[in-house]
């Protein structure tokens, strides 16, 4: 298991109630599932935001769910970016 950092932005930060947290996980899928379980609520807000977010691992695009089985490394930074809405 690696200790990783989850970093939440915008709607994800609001749904998680935190901008950052640490947890232990082996794969990206595990880390995101653990975060979902931790922040589950009756309205499923966190899961909804997460499903629509793009994921960066150490700044690299990990796709929506294309790289769920990505094996994580110690201190990897997983960023949760909700849909962009500039302009």
């Amino acid at each position: 298991l690696a200790t990783v950092i989850l970093r939440y932005w915008a709607a994800a930060k609001e749904a998680a109630g935190a901008s950052e947290e640490r947890l232990s996980a082996e794969t990206l899928d595990e880390a995101l599932s653990a975060a979902s379980a931790k922040h589950s609520s009756p309205d499923g807000r966190f899961a909804t935001v997460l499903a629509r977010s793009s994921i960066l691992v150490d700044g690299q695009q990990a796709g929506h769910h294309a790289a769920d089985d990505l094996t994580l490394w110690e201190n990897a930074i997983i960023e949760i970016l909700p849909p962009f809405a500039g302009g």
């Binding site: 932005w9 915008a10 709607a11 609001e14 909804t48 935001v49 629509r52 700044g59 960023e79 970016l81 909700p82 849909p83 962009f84 809405a85 500039g86 302009g87």
Partner: protein, 140 residues
């Protein structure tokens, strides 16, 4: 790239004259297209009071990529693209893009593409605050 005159994400109000001036007086450019996106007072029938914009720390790098991509596709002789973050009131500019090209068609097209690409690929988020006191994240 020398064509890029102003590029950035700012907390202070944007200046349309400054952005326009930055792409003016390029002797080879005969068409300048300028777009400004401003905060509107309604969204799908609901009254909007304010928009709160935030961005990822790397947003400026993504903005630069959008502009560089357009430079690779159109004969752009000067271009500026600026975006505002923070709490914006109705009528304030959130984004301004100005493109100078030899002719008008390419200036319009390039400007249009840059604005669309900013919305699509620059990590900026918008929290819409309604007149009834509620708020929502646009796009989520």
């Amino acid at each position: 790239m020398d064509e890029i005159k102003l590029l950035g994400i700012h907390t202070e109000p944007l200046s349309l004259p400054a952005v326009y001036s930055s792409v003016c007086k390029v002797p080879s450019a005969g068409g300048i297209a300028v777009f400004s996106g401003v905060v509107r007072n309604e969204d799908e029938g609901r009254g909007v009071e304010q928009l709160g914009y935030t961005c990822h720390p790397d947003a400026e790098r993504y903005l630069r990529e959008v502009v560089e991509k357009a430079i690779g596709q159109y004969p752009i002789h000067a271009v500026s693209a600026v975006h505002r973050i923070g709490d914006l009131q109705i009528g304030e500019e959130a984004v301004i893009v100005a493109v100078a090209c030899p002719r008008r068609a390419e200036a319009f097209h390039a400007c249009h593409q840059i604005v669309d690409d900013i919305k699509e690929s620059v990590p900026i988020w918008k929290n819409q605050r309604f007149s009834d006191g509620s708020a929502e994240w646009v796009g989520v």
